[in-house]
């Protein structure tokens, strides 16, 4: 159990959660006519951008997978383009899944797609930052007992939390309360965001509590 890794990760997570909170607060205070419910689409853009930026910053600053060998510039570039392609694919995949879940196919495409972008920035962007565009590593991390480091565990927890949050967020939609937040996709994106933040906060705590049980093998 590496205490420093855990500490690094906790600070990273707190920054991530902070970014989400900022994405809600700053535009409300600085931009006229911005509200979480009223201009939900622009909030979706801002929030996903913030989360992606923070993830990239954390990747550069904390270097969670520092053990990888030095790579050439072209290698890095190809990795970057690959990551971008992966991200776009994941956006479309999420969009497809959301439509399969019953979101309208033609109406409110923008809402659905931006929600998909938000979900991929919560899940895929973190995976890309921590694991790189390496599909087999992803499969490993997201299978039972596949986590090999603190980062893998945090990744598991935040991803599952945000997806489950979005899943639970769909439940209030059929209720006949006629509230503004029941409109598609506000309740779902709210659920996903809350789930993501909760995941960020829970992950270090959970790992800390279970540190005795978790013994990672060296890579």
């Amino acid at each position: 159990m590496d205490e420093t890794e855990l500490r690094k990760m906790s600070t990273g997570h707190i920054f991530g959660a902070f970014a989400v909170v900022l994405s809600v607060c700053v535009p409300v205070l600085s931009v006229d006519g911005f509200s979480f419910l009223g201009t939900h689409l622009s909030w979706l853009c801002i929030c996903s951008l913030c989360v992606i930026l923070v993830n990239i910053l954390l990747l550069l600053l904390l270097k969670p997978n520092a053990s990888s060998k030095k790579t050439s510039l072209s290698n890095k570039l190809s990795k970057l383009t690959k990551s971008c392609i992966y991200f776009v694919i994941s956006c479309f995949l999420f969009h497809g899944i959301i439509v399969l879940y019953g979101a309208p196919l033609v109406e409110s495409v923008a809402e659905t797609f931006l929600f998909a972008v938000l979900l991929s920035s919560f899940t895929t962007s973190r995976c890309l930052c921590l694991l790189g565009p390496n599909f087999s590593a992803w499969v490993r991390v997201f299978s039972k007992d596949g986590a090999l480091s603190v980062w893998d565990h945090s990744l598991q927890i935040t991803t599952v939390c945000s997806v489950v949050g979005a899943w639970l967020g769909a439940f209030p939609i059929p209720l006949d309360w006629d509230r503004p937040w029941q409109v598609w996709p506000i309740s779902c994106s709210l659920g996903a965001t809350l789930g993501y933040v909760a995941g960020l906060l829970i992950a270090p705590l959970w790992i800390y509590c279970n540190r005795k049980r978790l013994t990672y093998k060296s890579r």
């Binding site: 399969l100 596949g146 059929p174 209720l175």
Partner: protein
């Protein structure tokens, strides 16, 4: 006593059916009615009078109108008359309403908004119980006091033309009648012409007092194409012409006679945005009521908004208008505008009569009747009425008399309102005792089922019911005594009608003993379990560790659905819950599939032990797959199997996604629920008359697909029968005008398709018969699993054929997709992922529920497809109609359950207890929602939506439980064989 778990499961479900029936009997209250059946004019109360002065007016007042015409237009919505549509298409009526001598109202109908209860409400003034919906088709004579009966007693000649429900309700009441049948929904011109053709003749004649016309065309248009169809306008115009004809004819006659006549234009119920009715949305409940008579004062062109009244108010108004006694069970208030033109004395007299009738009814239904606010007000008003009479008889004619009269009038109206509302409350009285007995029985069954899960799902699939110890325990006898004491106390003390008290005491005692025995069994099972669990205490933490994500999802989904039944919106939109859950299930399967294929390859990531494990796994999988391939070779074309072999991985990986896409497509086929039902859906597009060629093509493709998907596992004989049956289905649909033959351009010469439908029925019965024969053979003579699986598959395909015949034409797509999904799931998913029987059962149940809603059902009564009950019948025959309607409504869950049975018993590599496990799980998963729902309904019995949302769902749940009990018995029958075989 040792019982196999399948026997236990079916017994439990059967007992639970009994419990649910008892609960429902107590839950649906009987309508408020008085003891004496029919009121006579001899009981008419005299005018109230103060001491010393007796009024000489003790008889019923004479009729207000010479002739009354009731023009009842089925499904006439409020805005068809008062809205823009009415202004455009009903010019004569609009002109009358705006300028003429009319009074217009919006009459609110009570749920359920179905024709027969509404006719009863119109004529008796009472609100028929909800259970009347179920009896809607089986209408028989109305025995309650009603306007028609009163009219007949008073020697009035009543003439009726229209919906033959009336003739069934009032046989021998009409002097002349001609009924039209409402079962052929596609006909909307002939039904109305059959009514109108009598008009000219009857209007010329003078030998009738009351004329009732019931036009069905508008309702049929609504069912066919909805309220915004282009057919509605011409129909309204036709109705307007009819009204004009009547009005003009009566007006010309009035010149000879001094007494005016009255025309009542009303609707029995409204129409929802989709064109159906039965629920209690605003559109279905609000109907127009226009009273037209030359006696009314002409309005000066000021159009007020129509006042809202109750539909039950029409009955006393009609009675008063015709000079008849008000029906005894009426809850209605006389519409005061009808008598406005009469003298004050008469007006007060009418209101007094109405109030007296309501008071009598309340006295018979409420114990603390003297304390009721309405009664007190009425007594007060009666007193001041007496004073007024005194003044009047003394010859006082000053303005004070008029003012006093007005005051009395107001008092009366207020008293009437209060009386009517406290009577309305009486209707919602529940028979709590029967309800609680039913609830206790089903709760105990649920506990028993849940507690015996560990034993019943063990490898022996047996459950040891502790019979001897509880039966000889003190607790059992104590409970028996206590319960009998309660029974005696409840039944002797309560005045209310109680079903459970009315059954014979031997039966009641038996039930009491049964309840106490059950509770003792549950308790002793529980204590045994507790005693066992004390030793291995450490096991407790690791309950969830052995569970996969799929198990968790199945558990959470089941619990979540049960919890969601506490909210009325979730009941209205239950389909969303199931779609959501099945989608998530498919995604979980996709993830499991991904893991299986990708992790096996990436074993270098895992340590050696796990690698070995996965190798074993893959070996095992190969083994399964080998057997599976063998099956494939036998059953499908070799080319196809080769293809499947080569691309096995990719087909398996993509199959959950294929299922997801199918689910999404089916979701757009039929919009159900309440909130989103207005959205355009594919089903309406297909059934609209412009798209007949497309529909015909689709139906043909679907029938061919059904043949391809089913025939593989059938014997040769049933293959041929199936082919003929499917061909017959196309002929049937062409005959009734759903589809066209390729050589046909437009449908003409429609028939009821009786010959074609019966042709198909023969093949259905034939296939079912061969299937049963094979099953029996496998049970008695050989112990060959092949024959059994063949027999089950034939039974299954017989049901598919029947469903294909009965479904609405566009729903054949649902059937095809159902078959496709079942094939994919059984070939590529369950075989490869090695799910156990419990998981497969729950998945089947979920998909069955989703298909219940995919075929267009919802939790309101209005979506039940009654027309299925008339396929191949000349006229309504009760038993087959009920059976067919029930089958078609629950075909989704039923087909999945039978598929489950076939799948579990045909899997050769599975252990012999699979079917027992499946049966047990099926019983448990059905029992949980029913029991919880019974508790929810009991808790919410005073909820605002209890009649519109919760009660229909209760009926749906109860019938579903009945069908599941049948399915479980079938499981048990098949399982018996398996167990005896394994013993051999």
């Amino acid at each position: 006593m040792k019982v196999s778990s399948s026997v236990l499961a079916s017994c439990c479900l059967l007992i639970q059916v009994f419990g649910a029936m008892l609960f429902i009997r107590g839950f649906f209250p009987l309508p408020v009615r008085s003891q004496s059946r029919k009121s006579t004019s001899a009981e008419t109360p005299p005018e109230p009078a103060t001491a010393g002065l007796l009024s000489n007016w003790t008889k019923l007042p004479s009729p207000l109108f010479k002739k009354v015409v009731v023009l009842l237009i089925d499904a006439l919505r409020q805005d068809f008359v008062y809205g823009p549509k009415g202004k455009k298409h009903m010019p004569y009526l609009t002109q009358l309403v705006e300028k003429g001598t009319t009074h217009s109202f919006i009459a609110k109908a009570a749920a359920p908004t179905v024709t027969m209860p509404r006719i009863k409400a119109l004529m008796t003034g009472s609100i028929p119980g909800f259970i009347d919906v179920v009896m809607n088709l089986n209408s028989h004579e109305l025995l309650d006091d009603n306007v028609i009966w009163q009219g007949k007693q008073a020697g009035k000649r009543i003439v009726f033309y229209g919906d033959d429900t009336w003739i069934k309700l009032f046989p021998k009441h009409f002097a002349e009648y001609d009924g039209t049948t409402s079962f052929f929904v596609s006909d909307y011109t002939e039904v109305d012409n059959n009514v109108t053709r009598h008009l000219d003749d009857i209007l010329k004649r003078n030998d009738w007092d009351m004329l009732i016309l019931h036009y069905l065309g508008l309702d049929h248009i609504g069912h066919l194409t909805g309220p915004h169809s282009h057919l509605v306008g011409p129909k309204l115009l036709e109705m307007d012409t009819v009204l004009k004809k009547i009005s003009v004819a009566l007006m010309s006659q009035e010149e000879d006679i001094s007494v005016p006549s009255l025309i009542v234009l009303c609707g029995d119920h409204g129409m929802s945005e989709t064109g159906s009715h039965g629920g209690s949305s605003e559109e279905e409940v609000q109907t127009p009521l226009v009273l037209i008579s030359s006696a009314f004062e002409e309005k000066g062109g000021i159009s007020k908004l129509p006042e809202i009244i109750q539909q039950t108010d029409i009955a006393p108004t009609l009675a008063i208008s015709l000079g008849l006694p008000i029906p005894q069970n009426s809850l209605g208030i006389l519409v005061p505008q009808t008598v406005e033109h009469k003298s004050m004395r008469e007006q007060l007299r009418f209101l007094h009569l109405n109030g007296h009738q309501l008071c009598m009814l309340l006295r018979q239904n409420l114990e603390a009747y003297e304390k009721d606010a309405g009664v007190e007000q009425f007594k007060k008003a009666e007193k001041s009425h007496g004073n007024w009479i005194k003044l009047y008889l003394e010859g006082n004619a000053s303005e004070t008399l008029t003012n006093l009269g007005k005051k009395v009038l107001k008092q009366y109206l207020e008293a009437l309102k209060n009386l009517s509302s406290s009577l309305g409350k009486q209707i919602a009285e529940y028979d709590i005792y029967s309800m609680s007995i039913g609830a206790v029985i089903s709760l105990e069954i649920l506990f028993l089922l849940l507690l015996s899960i560990p034993n019943a799902l063990s490898s022996r699939a047996e459950f040891d019911i502790p019979l001897s110890s509880p039966l000889f325990s003190l607790l059992f006898y104590m409970m028996c005594l206590v319960l009998s004491a309660i029974h005696v106390i409840v039944c002797t003390s309560s005045e209310k009608v109680c079903f459970f008290c009315s059954i014979s005491w031997v039966l009641a005692l038996g039930i009491m003993m049964f309840i106490s025995a059950l509770s003792c069994i549950v308790l002793s099972t529980l204590s045994k379990m507790l005693a066992k669990s004390q030793y291995p205490n450490k096991k407790q933490d690791s309950i969830f560790s052995g569970w996969s994500e799929l198990d968790l999802l199945l558990l959470i989904g089941t619990l979540g659905h049960v919890i969601s039944m506490g909210a009325s919106s979730f009941i209205e939109e239950e389909h969303q819950t199931w779609y959501f859950l099945t989608n998530t299930l498919c995604l979980a399967l996709a993830q499991e599939m991904c893991r299986k294929y990708f992790l096996v390859k990436k074993s270098n990531f895992l340590d050696s032990a796990e690698g070995e494990d996965s190798k074993n796994e893959s070996l095992y999988m190969d083994k399964i797959y080998d057997t599976h391939k063998k099956e494939l070779k036998e059953q499908t074309l070799p080319l196809l199997s080769q293809f499947a072999k080569q691309h096995e991985k990719w087909i398996a990986l993509s199959s959950p996604w294929a299922i997801l896409i199918i689910c999404r497509l089916l979701r757009t086929l039929n919009q159900t629920g309440i909130q989103w039902i207005h959205r355009p859906d594919f089903g309406h597009w297909l059934t609209s008359s412009e798209h007949k060629p497309e529909l015909s093509f689709l139906v043909a493709v679907c029938l061919v697909m059904i043949f391809i998907l089913i025939q593989g596992r059938c014997s040769f004989v049933s293959k041929v029968a199936l082919a003929f049956g499917l061909l017959g289905i196309y002929c049937y649909r062409a005959a009734i005008g759903h589809v066209l033959y390729p050589w046909q351009n437009n449908s003409n010469g429609l028939s009821k398709g009786i010959t074609e439908a019966r042709f198909v029925y023969i093949f259905v019965l034939g296939i079912l018969f061969t299937g049963t024969k094979d099953l029996l053979k496998s049970q008695v003579i050989y112990t060959d699993p092949q024959t059994k699986s063949l027999g089950l598959w034939e039974v299954y395909s017989g049901f598919i054929l029947l469903a294909a015949l009965l479904y609405r034409p566009h729903n054949l797509v649902v059937l095809v997709f159902c078959l496709l999904m079942q094939t994919t799931l059984s070939m590529f998913i369950w075989n490869l992922l090695k799910h156990d029987a419990a998981q497969i059962t729950i998945m089947h149940y979920w998909f069955g529920q989703a298909f219940f809603f995919f075929q267009g059902n919802s939790n309101t009564i209005s979506t039940v497809d009654i027309s299925a009950g008339f396929v191949g019948m000349e006229n309504y025959v009760e038993l087959p109609a009920i059976f067919l309607t029930m089958f078609i409504t629950y075909s989704g869950p039923l087909l999945w359950a039978i598929h489950l049975l076939w799948y579990l018993s045909s899997e050769t590599h599975r252990v012999s207890t699979t079917v027992a496990h499946g049966c047990y799980c099926y019983a448990a998963i059905r029992s949980i929602p029913v029991t919880v729902y019974i508790l929810v309904v009991t808790a919410f019995r005073y909820h605002l939506f209890i009649w519109s949302v919760f009660s229909p769902k209760l009926l749906y749940e109860a019938i579903h439980l009945l069908i599941s009990a049948g399915v479980c018995v079938m499981f048990t029958a098949v399982d018996k064989n398996q167990i005896s075989k394994s013993e051999n």
